[in-house]
């Protein structure tokens, strides 16, 4: 099949938009920590752009999308982009250059690693984070991506639907975040209730705006062609984000006041939840999916706080749980009327679709939690995950990076 220029343009633009999401995460997270850790938090995302950007083309893409080995992992045929050229891949995205498909996937791997960092801000040692990130990409992300999206992956074989990464990106990141945060332990002062006020909420809002924008590339780009399906996924994405932002606002208003931080968080929760469903559900179903996400994630943050776990920026509650809800909701709301390559869900008379969905969710929860636990412990043993107490009180910007966010001023 020849390359279709319009599909290529669409996937390239989408790739660029997804790339921008990682600086978006940097802002979203950076604005939520204390001033003394602003740069270090942003650095974690920017480092993912460098580190994962490299590892992906060296071997990550090959492990994820290389020819299947036992339904578990891809082969090494694509090491260093061997065989990945301007012609389409024989098995993926037949109307665009293989390189375009590869780079679109690269952006997903990068942001997934960046997402996890929200759990460990303000106390992780930067060197340990880098080592962990490289290992996590290799031993968690690449296998899971292969299971769900790889040609021959076992979860794909079960019929688990994941349009744009609800399980691969969000559940994997969210559950791993929880696992790593538990190993790492809470920030100093967290247990004593020291208020850890977000240092720059306007940055959180810009970050959320950029994420919302980029998510159109993430979800609608996942159609891998331009046309009806991409449009449908695009609309579903916007509706879910709007519904969740609005719902979160209302919930916090009922509790006390509507906050910008809440609207930003709600939008992200809605975007997460629609991710696996975007190209399988009727767009208007973005309303229950998004509103549901806001409810569920809101109370999961409360629950996490009650547990006293310092999963600092709630990657688990927003991405892990939001992705879980979305993957489940895909099993409820999916319809072949929207995407003939999909399936009907519960609402369209096919309750069985909930089985592969649940299998996918369970598999990724268990694997991501466990594998991260092992990797985290290994890294802790070898280089130590945490900075010293003194470095933590001074702040990671100075202690890890020798910089401060607002210099030049007297302080």
């Amino acid at each position: 099949m020849p390359i279709i220029a319009a599909d290529t343009a669409w996937v390239l633009v989408s790739s660029a938009m997804v790339m921008l999401m990682t600086p978006g995460v940097a802002l979203f997270y950076g604005g939520m920590v204390r001033r003394k850790n602003f740069l270090s938090t942003m650095m974690m995302s920017f480092a993912a752009l460098g580190l994962v950007g490299l590892l992906w083309v060296l071997y990550g893409y090959s492990l994820s999308f290389g020819p299947d080995k036992a339904s578990i992992i891809g082969g090494l045929d694509f090491l260093g982009l061997a065989q990945v050229g301007q012609a389409p891949s024989p098995v993926y995205a037949s109307t665009i250059p293989h390189l375009a498909f590869m780079v679109f996937q690269a952006m997903f791997a990068i942001i997934t690693v960046a997402l996890i960092t929200g759990a460990v801000v303000e106390r992780i040692k930067f060197s340990a984070l880098l080592v962990f990130s490289a290992m996590w990409l290799t031993f968690v992300y690449c296998p899971v991506a292969h299971w769900v999206w790889g040609d021959g992956g076992w979860l794909a074989g079960l019929g688990a639907l994941d349009f744009a990464g609800g399980t691969v990106v969000h559940i994997a990141a969210g559950v791993s975040a929880l696992s790593l945060a538990i190993i790492l332990g809470p920030r100093r002062g967290f247990r004593e209730g020291t208020p850890m006020e977000p240092g720059n909420i306007p940055m959180v809002a810009i970050g959320a705006g950029i994420l919302w924008f980029g998510w159109f590339g993430f979800n609608a780009g996942s159609a891998l062609t331009s046309g009806g399906l991409a449009s449908s996924a695009f609309v579903a994405t916007n509706i879910s984000a709007a519904a969740a932002a609005f719902t979160w606002m209302v919930i916090s208003w009922v509790h006390r006041r509507p906050t910008l931080l809440g609207v930003a968080t709600g939008a992200v929760a809605g975007l997460v939840a629609i991710t696996p469903a975007a190209g399988f559900v009727s767009p208007i179903m973005g309303i229950p999916i998004g509103a549901g996400a806001a409810f569920i994630c809101y109370y999961c943050i409360l629950f996490r706080m009650e547990l006293g776990i310092d999963e600092s920026l709630d990657v688990w509650a927003v991405h892990g749980i939001g992705g879980t809800w979305g993957a489940f909701a895909t099993g409820i709301f999916a319809t072949v009327a929207v995407n003939s390559a999909g399936a009907d869900g519960l609402l369209y008379g096919n309750p069985e679709q909930l089985l592969p969905q649940t299998a996918g969710i369970a598999a990724v929860w268990v694997f991501a939690f466990g594998a991260t636990w092992v990797l985290g412990k290994v890294v802790d043993r070898i280089i130590g995950l945490r900075v010293s107490p003194a470095e933590e009180t001074v702040g990671l910007d100075i202690s890890q990076h020798g910089e401060r966010a607002y210099g030049g001023q007297l302080r």
């Binding site: 209730g193 006020e197 509790h255 006390r256 006041r257 931080l261 809440g262 809101y298 943050i301 706080m305």
Partner: protein
């Protein structure tokens, strides 16, 4: 000479400035400080739930005045900064041994 240090609410700055002008003091130095007292802080919201912050933004107004102007200046500030609610702030009077105007090198009374 005395230095009057008034810790006031941010929103009372304009009235205080005007009241001090009325008693003859245009010059002053102002800084942003955080205070706590009986007011006890405010509660702010996180993504979910709330947390308390016990330090509230206040302004510190410093004016160095002649001894004989202390009483009128205190009165001017007290009147103009008051809202009657908890958190209106405090004024402290601190002795000043000497003052110098940098531009001219004048010192003492001529410097203020």
């Amino acid at each position: 000479m005395k230095k009057i240090e008034a810790i006031i609410r941010e929103e009372r700055l304009e009235p205080v400035k005007r009241a001090l002008e009325d008693v003859g003091y245009f010059g002053m130095t102002i800084s942003e400080v955080s205070g706590r007292g009986r007011q006890g802080g405010i509660s702010l919201q996180w993504r979910v739930g709330e947390y308390r912050v016990d330090l509230l933004p206040k302004l510190k107004v410093e004016v160095v005045v002649m001894d004989e102007d202390v009483v009128p200046a205190l009165g001017a500030i007290t009147r103009s900064a008051r809202t009657g609610e908890i958190g209106d702030g405090k004024i402290f009077v601190i002795p000043v041994d000497d003052a110098v105007r940098i531009r001219t090198g004048d010192s003492g009374i001529n410097a203020v």
